[in-house]
């Protein structure tokens, strides 16, 4: 059989290999996608390998270089007011910032998308119940919920992930539900039912794959907001421990020295910006690759 078609195999981590091929194609063709992939890969590697790559312990204080100029060979980016190496702190900070940013949005996305899928697919009172609950969540100021969650569960990375991600559930639920409502009217959903598929199979095989495009876009937009939200919580002392380096915290701490040592604030800010840009470009590439129609029409 000459066909490369195979309905059983051809999956890596549950993702069809032809979709991975398409993604590689998209990246090869599209410069913006390439930039996005490079940025995201670079930052993720820096975060993962921070213990190996960082020149100093991010917590170690050394007051000697405090007097040294910022761009010395020993501490390329200088130190903060406690004499901690800024470059090392930024590398370690990437772990928390990227982790909380991605983790929180992932938490919000999984919860919200599931709610939206169920609400949109079943409609009726299920829809009313779920979406009104989401409305209630939305009506609370995000910060209040975050303070409440941290007050109950205490500080810590995972609690920050949940506290930040909680605020995004309603975004994902609403977007997904809207998509599902229109997809539900498509005949292929009815066709799947007539073939004998169960509700869960229909939801995840027929409906969900057709909702991913706007979800990916929303995901990449919210990662940026989540990283800033983590900074806000850290600033208020509700995030991770104050001494733990995160980009948001570094940015906040550097504020006091903005007139004398501007780079302490500016560099983490730039990093957040570049990461957000990279994730957005990465997300666009993902969306293009998964849209089988778009790939062909180009």
């Amino acid at each position: 059989m000459s066909s490369r078609f195979d309905t059983d195999g051809g999956r890596v981590f549950g993702i069809r290999t032809d979709l991975i091929e398409q993604f590689v194609d998209t990246v090869n063709r599209d410069l913006k996608a390439k930039i996005g992939v490079v940025i995201v890969t670079l930052f993720v590697i820096a975060a993962i390998l921070a213990p190996e790559l960082a020149p100093y312990d991010p917590m170690a204080q050394d007051f000697a270089p405090l007097q040294a100029p910022a761009l010395s060979s020993e501490t390329p980016l200088g130190t903060d007011s406690f004499g901690r190496d800024l470059l090392s702190r930024l590398m370690y900070g990437a772990r928390i910032s990227l982790g909380v940013g991605l983790g929180a949005v992932l938490f919000g996305a999984i919860t919200g998308v599931l709610l939206g899928l169920v609400a949109g697919f079943y409609g009726g009172w299920v829809d009313d119940l779920l979406m009104r609950s989401v409305d209630v969540m939305w009506a609370f100021p995000w910060l209040l919920i975050a303070i409440m969650l941290v007050a109950i569960f205490g500080q810590g990375v995972w609690n920050v992930v949940v506290a930040v991600g909680f605020a995004y559930i309603d975004d994902f639920a609403r977007i997904t539900r809207g998509e599902v409502l229109s997809i539900r009217e498509e005949e292929y959903v009815l066709a799947a039912e007539s073939v004998g598929l169960g509700d869960l199979e229909i939801i995840f095989e027929e409906v969900f794959p057709n909702t991913v495009a706007p979800i990916i876009v929303q995901f990449t937009v919210l990662v940026a907001r989540a990283m800033l939200a983590e900074a806000t919580l850290s600033f208020l002392g509700l995030g991770v421990k104050p001494s733990t380096p995160t980009w948001g915290a570094l940015l906040g701490q550097g504020r006091d020295f903005i007139t004398t040592a501007w780079w302490i604030s500016i560099i983490p800010g730039l990093l957040i910006m570049i990461t957000v840009l990279g994730i957005n470009l990465f997300g666009d590439a993902l969306r293009d690759a998964f849209d089988v129609r778009e790939v062909d029409s180009e």
């Binding site: 292929y188 066709a191 799947a192 004998g196």
Partner: protein, 377 residues
Amino acid sequence: MSTDSLETSTTPAVESIDEPLLRATGLQKYFQTETGLFDRFLGEPTHVKAVDGVDVAVGERETLGLVGESGCGKTTLGRVLSRLYDPSAGTLEFDGEDITDLEGAELKRLRKRVQVIFQDPMSSLNPRKTAGEIVAKPLEVHDIATGEEKQERLAELFDEVGLQESHLDRYPHEFSGGQRQRIGIARALAVEPDLIIADEPVSALDVSVQAQIINLMKRLQDKYGLSYVFIAHDLSVVKHISDRVAVMYLGKIVEQGRKEDIFGNPQHPYTRALLHSIPRVDGKRKRHESLLEGNPPSPIDPPSGCRFRTRCPEYLGDECADTEPELRAVAGESGTVAPPERVEMISTDGESSDEHAIACHWLGKSSERREEQDPMT
């Protein structure tokens, strides 16, 4: 006028098939209209009576053509017959078994025997699945074939519907309309069903492609002994493929019979008007002569008595507005008229088979009087 035909409210007025594959009795499907919060508490819920008391039967290896204007409830009827929608009332029997309330595993077993072909070949195929995946799904769901066997079966199915094996890993948007409908047919055929409900399978296609698809469906019927419920809004499409025809108006069947009865000796004013509206090659009819005016009334609040009376070219009088006519056998009844010369596509010499029935107050009235009032002569 025979009296016994009036006492047939629970059983179909016309019993033609001894042991039908699918039989619907008194089938209803109402949809509750969208209402606001206040209506829900204050007002009476209103319903769209999409299907309102339908008796139909489909025999083995037989094709039932279901015709009617847009919005007459034929698609809904098709979906209720295939149990994609749950009926609001009435019973459905398939192969002697009551399938009205089947659920879960039993419903899944029914799905293996009753399949559906959809109207819009673009919308009925998931754009993110390849043609092969789409057709393979029923094989997987019903554990019919796996691995190598599945690949062979797929190739076989694609060949059967006139597609190539190289089409397996293409996406729906890479096909033409006709090819997409072939994928839909292959999907329906995969489980080797007994009955296929085809909801306007050719309405969205070019005329030349329509013929190909209909011929394909006929060939498959002969080869696999399939039964069809073939839904269309176009009588000429139905004429080619059907053994029996049911004409629907506003949720009810107004005339049914063998194909020869409907096309050679139409008796219900609505059927006669529909046949009248088919364009003719010889140009004997002038275009302005259309007998059907306006749109069908709302199925939320259908007219009293006979539902067709508001548009009927042969309106009889108060009786039409007061009582609802039942579906009764035409044979041996007065009140029938000679088949109009212009609609005679299949010659029957004006004789009705005993399956031929209409729901009209003219039945039992004077044929001469109807003849005089006939707008077609």
